[in-house]
């Protein structure tokens, strides 16, 4: 039985200097090219959860898949170095990956080609674009269950035990069904580190390459195209109003909220 973790390489936006958050003259670009490329942090949590499950059960096999060019193999090598069994890269043109629908379509093709896959894990969202939709679209395309905002999964007695974070608490689910799971960050859940020896060994391990440009298995009309119109940076707008007089606080608050809502409506 196989678990797949979808991982994405993103720029480490924490490293981008404050003064560099400036849109260029074309209004379509911010230069973040000098930031290191890292694994999307939500995907790191998903990967760690997958490895904890495969640590606990020999019947589970782990695989990672990424969509991108050869540079993105760095995160696949990292995954192999920390114990993932297989790695796959779907090689595409960059414009094919601008929308969650496209990404889900490409993943759908890969997942349906392998009957052993029982569970698909994705990070809840990526640090670039932050759509937070890929997992849900993928589940719909696959016709599988979808569990979102999951922070823990265990495999015990042939069931997946899933814990989800809700607005008002935690939900625990037990399932044997195929599912797509989107993972949120979990406190004190960090991706394990690869030893130097395993990092060296991972360089020799094979990475399966799927080139959809050549095979053209994905129908052209199933890929949407988003055209970027422009980028703007919204100025931060903060205000603090102190409410005094305990007895009238609720009235003051009510008035403030109504004024805000009326302003938004206009």
């Amino acid at each position: 039985m196989k678990i797949i973790s979808c991982i994405k390489q993103v720029y480490d936006l924490d490293k981008v200097l404050e003064n560099d958050w400036v849109v260029d003259e074309t209004s379509k670009n911010i230069d973040i090219s000098y930031a290191n490329l890292i694994m999307n942090p939500y995907d790191e949590t998903a990967l760690e959860l997958m490895l904890r499950m495969t640590d606990s059960s020999k019947e589970l096999i782990s695989e990672v898949v990424t969509i991108g060019n050869q540079k993105s193999e760095a995160i696949l090598r990292k995954a192999l170095a920390i114990g993932v069994n297989y790695a796959t890269r779907i090689n595409v043109k960059e414009q094919d990956t601008t929308t969650p629908f496209n990404i889900a379509s490409l993943l759908h093709h890969q997942i349906t080609s392998d009957n052993d896959i029982q569970l698909v894990l994705c990070g809840r969202q990526s640090d670039i674009l932050n759509h937070g939709q890929t997992g849900q679209i993928l589940a719909q395309k696959l016709g599988w269950s979808c569990f979102t905002n999951v922070f823990n999964i265990k495999y015990e007695n042939n069931y997946f035990h899933i814990s989800r974070l809700l607005n008002d608490g935690i939900e625990h689910i037990k399932t044997k069904e195929k599912a797509v799971i989107t993972i949120t960050q979990s406190p004190n859940m960090f991706l394990r580190m690869a030893t130097l020896m395993n990092t060296m060994k991972a360089k020799q391990k094979p990475i399966k390459l799927i080139d959809l440009n050549e095979t053209a298995k994905v129908k052209k009309n199933s890929l949407e195209e988003y055209k970027l119109d422009k980028l703007t940076i919204e100025k931060s707008n903060k205000e603090c109003i102190f409410l005094t007089n305990d007895k009238e606080i609720s009235l003051q608050l009510n008035e403030l909220i109504n004024n805000y809502l009326n302003k938004e409506a206009i």
Partner: protein, 472 residues
């Protein structure tokens, strides 16, 4: 004397609220931020040697009274300010007393005539620096612990800052100092630009690590904020090339405030998009009065290009400046991932430093079974030599004992190799309790001088027992 009697005395002197006996707080104060303890805490380590109490000192008079009592009753005491030590120098033996000066935190005077600032031991360096900046000055002292460290501890550990190649280490910055000896005398060394009046007594305090008394007040130099700054980074193919470049620059008489060489592993981690595979990185900042930085910057560039270094512009420096102290917000990050991780800085003469670097990297990679990484950089350079700041991480079985075994193995390799080539086992982190076992080899015949000084100043052996000189 019974513990309750001891506590009662302190409460009489300081007031009940300033004598802390809460076990959770005592556990927090039981150690410092040494990497070994970070990962051991993750595996469940708790100190079995809690202090009896923590004394929150507010005045020098209180420090005197407390020290006299402690000495008369032979109670082991641990002076402490910011708590950012990394060598187990602040670990509490059982029944000891922590003398906490972090609330003794007033800036006494900024003297713009003499270019000095006088501050109590508990003044955070960050506060001192921000205060100076508002008036157009700087302390020139920028250790990575800047967000955490306080003045007393910075002097006691013989600390150094990232801009040291120009401004010097704390030993170059200290002008005057006041402290309380283990036997309770309040002593003051006055401010002076230079003197020839016997051995420089300030050096008893510099690097004392709490073993020779309690520092209560320091006066350090200040500098005008630089009018000009030139930042440039270069890529190099070999680490030794980087060392050769730095050596040529400093021996020619140039003193770029920031002079750093990162090996290929560190360079890839921090500056990957700027460099090619297997390149290291050199970082230079020149600063000073108008015209000075450009002059020095051009000289640095000439030397670098002569050695076929590749220009990378100033962006790597901008990144370094913005993120150099980020680790202070995530000190236990690697521990949470179950890794034994820490840093170890050593120094050596130019003729030996490259050999130490190469041998440590090779030995650690070969001998440590679950090594994650070992890296090194040079960050403080002199006409005679430089330091290497090793950083290491290794996985281990999830137990306190396994963590210690792995840590000791890696540290041991660094210490042995350094001593083999006549290097020094500590460049600026101090000795603490952890490195004291190598002090005899480090000092050789001069170890007797240290022992005699300790005996003279602290006849009852009460001050931070086990630091500098191991307990036999």
């Amino acid at each position: 004397m019974e513990k309750t009697e001891v506590i009662n005395f302190f409460e009489t002197v300081l007031g009940k609220e300033r004598v802390v006996t809460n076990e959770e707080v005592l556990q927090e104060f039981a150690t410092d931020i040494t990497g070994l303890r970070m990962v051991q805490k993750h595996f469940g380590w708790k100190s079995e040697n809690l202090a009896s109490c923590i004394l929150k000192i507010h005045t020098k008079e209180e420090a005197v009274e407390v020290m006299k009592f402690i000495n008369e009753n032979k109670i082991v005491s641990i002076p402490r300010t910011g708590g950012s030590g990394v060598c187990l120098g602040l670990e509490t033996p059982s029944h000891s007393v922590v003398i906490d000066l972090s609330e003794m935190n007033e800036i006494i005077e900024i003297n713009e005539d003499n270019f000095t600032i006088t501050a109590q031991a508990g003044v955070p360096l960050q506060v001192l620096e921000e205060t100076l900046n508002k008036k157009g000055y700087t302390s020139g002292h920028f250790p990575q612990s800047l967000p955490l460290a306080q003045m007393g501890g910075l002097v006691a550990t013989r600390s150094i800052g990232q801009f040291s190649t120009l401004y010097g280490g704390i030993e170059d910055l200290l002008v005057g100092i006041e402290g309380v000896l283990p036997t309770g005398e309040l002593v003051y060394i006055k401010n002076n630009p230079r003197k020839s009046t016997g051995p420089d007594l300030r050096h008893i305090w510099l690097g004392s690590e709490g073993a020779f008394g309690v520092i209560t007040e320091v006066t350090v130099k200040i500098f005008k904020l630089p009018e000009e700054r030139v930042m440039q980074a270069f890529a190099i193919e070999e680490f030794q090339t980087g060392l050769d470049i730095i050596k040529e620059i400093v021996q020619a008489g140039w003193k770029p405030a920031v002079t750093r060489l990162h090996d290929k592993t560190e360079a890839k981690e921090s500056y990957g998009p700027f460099i090619k595979e297997d390149e290291g990185v050199l970082l230079f900042i020149s600063e000073g009065p108008q015209g000075f930085a450009s002059l020095e910057g051009n000289a640095v560039k000439t030397v670098c290009l002569k050695h076929k270094a590749r220009e990378l512009g100033s962006k790597p420096l901008e990144l370094w400046l913005a993120h150099r102290n980020d680790i202070c917000d995530h000190l236990d990050m690697y521990a949470k991932q179950g890794a034994v991780a820490d840093t170890c800085e050593i120094s050596a003469m130019w003729s030996d430093i490259g050999k130490i670097y190469n041998e440590v990297i090779a030995r650690v990679a070969k001998e440590v079974p679950y090594l994650v990484a070992v890296t090194g950089h040079s960050s403080h350079s002199y006409v005679q030599g430089t330091n290497i700041y090793f950083m290491f991480g290794a996985m281990c079985a999830p137990s306190i004992e396994a963590a210690e075994k792995t840590y000791n193995q890696i540290f041991g390799i660094i210490m042995e190799t350094t001593l083999k080539y006549n290097g020094s086992i500590a460049h600026h982190h101090g000795v603490g309790r952890y490195r004291s076992k190598w002090m005899k080899q480090e000092l050789g015949s001069s170890y007797e001088m240290l022992k005699k000084l300790k005996k003279a100043f602290d006849p009852n052996g009460i001050m931070n027992q086990g630091v500098l000189i191991p307990v036999e």
